[in-house]
Symmetry: C2
Subunit: 339 residues, 2 copies
């Protein structure tokens, strides 16, 4: 552990970002207390039987806005200065981070502006607007969202809070791991979905602080394996518009902050096929009666993939969210349906 | 309350069955403790907004076997004499009661035999067999299940535990209401799905004992309104093979035990259309991320129907189960989908 902390500091010194450490997660937990739900750890005999392990589920589909993203967004926005809060917050996201920023803004009395591609699903736009955010649409084939966000933030004097590459966002997401580690002792493994690495790195920091022997595994789709390749090569790798049903893991690369954190605190990265994700979703829907989105089910798919030897072990599994269009879910289940 | 208790005793004296009283539910709670889950009471801002009330959800979809039925089955089977337990238990059911009896048998070391129509879904047969029960199939167009059950019970010296019309089953189901009343104070309303009336009467007994001012409402499908008609006419009414998606409420009539209990302890019966059930299911799936079967969603459909004035009230809602074929359920949503 001492060596790991040393490594962490060395890497952080090479960046212009403040390191994220365990006390940041404890501090985030205090800030989000009473605002975010402490999702109840669940168990399932069926999942234990399917995996051969004793599995402890952290169901962030029951989090406010239906995903863990609320934790990081609220933590980051609550830390802005009064002047920054008065000016407002900007982000870019067509997914769970958009709703998380919008709801946090409503709770904190901060105006929020969300940059969303003009082909984002209408239902997501409406849900975000319902929380009181202003939506700015753009043509993603013409403009890069990062450039557009930087320009609008400057013009309007807004603070940009990106979806994952931000220390307070990472610290907020880490409270998922914190609550799991505080709720269940002696975990042998922790499986976490990986998109941009905010949830994974936050959970890994908490896990290594509280249960250093717990082996932390990040899971991403086989067709969007940039983080896995980055992790094992030590050089940031990218993917472009990967074809996977796990829409939350289509992020092109780990962040400047999350990449070194993942390298330092995560033990293994593995990938799963879309068919394995659908099988994990079906198991969860059928047996635990919880609605989990494809990205959220990647962690259980990783447990069931057989890539790590979890038999007889105590395994924590973070299910990151449940925001899936029901009609799309029908086609997923129908396609993979064995008659 | 004194008058109600008097009524209850008078009605029970007209039957050959022991009355079910509140102490039976307390006793059932002790017997199922550590075996059944104490399902966590849930709240949802979306459902509060949709209903105009403060809604407290009792999600029995998270109960073992995916429905409240486990409570009654386990309570009844745990009360059998050693000789009866050694001989074994018989029931008839193609639904949630079958799995409840099968799992209770496995936990208590009692052999179980389930009579199921030969056209029951294969998945239900398999799930019941997986818990270790023996299945006896029959042609429902040729034999009545009650007659067949009575004959087999005599031949094999098995104890018959029917799906709802049994005092220990009613007392077990009443623990749902007990836990809700113990967990939430000052409820103005309690909405409960009604099939054969076991869950409804058990919950009503608990509600009236702990919160007498709470108005207890039973909800059934408009096309299967036998209990509503029985309740208001005072004479047992029946339906035959009603056409409704709420398969758990296709029961032809209230029982000899449940009918007087419903008459005594329930305040109102209302009906809902299938389209209202689908809307309630969609709201639950989309916003609370819980999988609820059509029968289980009837109670929320009743809240949202506007038939009772719940605005500004504190409302308990029992969601009875989550055992639904995913492809069928998602197709339901597609059918009712507004493009």
């Amino acid at each position: 552990m001492i060596q790991q902390n040393g490594q962490e500091r060395a890497m952080d010194e090479n960046t212009s970002y403040a390191p994220v450490v365990f006390s940041d997660i404890l501090s985030a937990a205090e800030r989000i207390a009473g605002k975010a739900h402490q999702t109840q750890i669940a168990t399932s005999q069926s999942i234990d039987t399917a995996s051969g392990a004793t599995v402890f589920i952290k169901p962030e589909n029951f989090q406010r806005t239906g995903a863990f993203k609320f934790r990081g967004a609220y933590n980051a926005m609550s830390r802005l200065s009064p002047a920054e809060q008065a000016a407002g917050v900007l982000t870019f996201s067509s997914g769970n981070h958009a709703q998380a920023i919008a709801l946090s803004g409503r709770l904190l009395g901060i105006r929020t502006t969300i940059i969303m591609p003009d082909d984002a699903p209408l239902v997501k736009k409406q849900a975000t607007e319902a929380y009181g955010a202003e939506i700015i649409s753009y043509d993603k084939h013409v403009v890069s969202r990062e450039e557009l966000a930087t320009r609008i933030a400057q013009e309007r004097q807004l603070t940009l809070i990106p979806p994952y590459d931000h220390p307070h966002v990472v610290a907020g997401q880490g409270t998922v791991g914190l609550e799991l580690m505080q709720g269940v002792s002696n975990l042998d493994f922790l499986f976490v979905p990986c998109g941009g690495g905010g949830l994974l790195s936050g959970c890994a920091i908490a896990a290594k602080a509280l249960q250093p022997a717990c082996h932390v595994v990040g899971v991403e789709p086989a067709t969007a394996d940039d983080a896995t390749r980055s992790f094992y090569s030590g050089t940031l790798q990218t993917v472009t518009n990967p074809d996977t049903i796990a829409d939350g893991a289509r992020t092109p690369y780990l962040g400047k902050i999350t990449f070194p954190l993942v390298r330092t605190h995560v033990d293994s990265m593995i990938t799963v096929e879309d068919s394995e994700i659908v099988d994990a979703m079906k198991l969860l829907w059928n047996r635990t009666k919880m609605i989990i989105e494809p990205t959220g089910a990647m962690s259980l798919a990783g447990v069931l993939s057989g890539k790590m030897d979890v038999k007889g072990c105590r395994v924590g599994v973070v299910l990151s969210g449940g925001n899936v269009d029901l009609i799309s879910a029908l086609s997923l289940f129908s396609m993979h349906h064995k008659a």
